[in-house]
Symmetry: C2
DNA sequence: ATCTTTGACTTACCAAAAGTAAGTAACTAT
DNA sequence: ATAGTTACTTACTTTTGGTAAGTCAAAGAT
């Protein structure tokens, strides 16, 4: 008797599309920061995250804007002023990210211990 | 009056550690697949995901094993036989991933429409 | 009048991560 | 002797991410 396996090819699986997108290095983090702060300017997000490069912040914000997770409001001033806010779509995703963040806090110690043990066995 | 911003530097924020780890390209997906199937061998996971390279599957499984998300059972046979199962730690994370997956399914259409609209404006 | 500062970015260049294809090990069936 | 099996490596290439410097336009300082 054959074992039946579930498949997750990109083409067949819409979940992949979203997971790939928000599963990059910075997207989730930027959404978290925007949720905590309501409105932030480019440099404020930059400072808040601390170790993201301006380039990656710019690129990731564009991607989040394209998918409708983030809204970008430009003021015609000099020096430039741009405000970023999270959209309803982004907000609807956040509880799940929060849950992940909470889980992370609760289990980080276990994970670190596992990792150390694993490395000792090598 | 100064605006107070929350900070998420790697050093100060344990959530970052986990988010970085499971927020890579393949970890969440492998956990999903293992949860759906209980026990899988290397090639079965490979087929199930479809477009992961053997190298990345190998690397990611090791990382998941190191953190204690996945258990690896080796049979001393030839040809080799290795079975992968999800651990209780991995299982405890899964509801959150499932929630994300469910959210993705519900919102993928909106996202795709947003993305198309954004690209047309360029 | 020229120089500096400001904010939100680009651009050019370099390093790290991921993908591809081929190879390895060791035994079994043909 | 050869080919098939399975879980991986290894060498090489491409894509992604990081660093530092540069751009733009106007307001304020010298």
């Amino acid at each position: 008797m054959e074992k039946s396996i579930n498949f997750y090819n990109v083409a067949e699986c819409p979940v992949r599309n979203v997971l790939d997108k928000i599963g990059d290095k910075w997207s989730l983090l930027i959404l978290l920061v925007l949720k905590e702060n309501e409105v932030l300017r480019f440099n404020e997000i930059h400072k808040s995250i601390g170790d993201i490069s301006q380039k990656m912040l710019s690129v990731t914000l564009k991607s989040l804007e394209a998918d409708g997770f983030v809204h970008r409001k430009v003021y015609a001033e000099i020096p430039p002023k741009v405000e970023y806010t999270i959209t309803p779509l982004g907000t609807s995703l956040l509880p799940h990210i929060d849950a992940l963040a909470k889980w992370s806090k609760e289990h980080i110690n276990t994970i670190m211990q596992n990792r150390a043990a694993y490395n000792n066995e090598l």
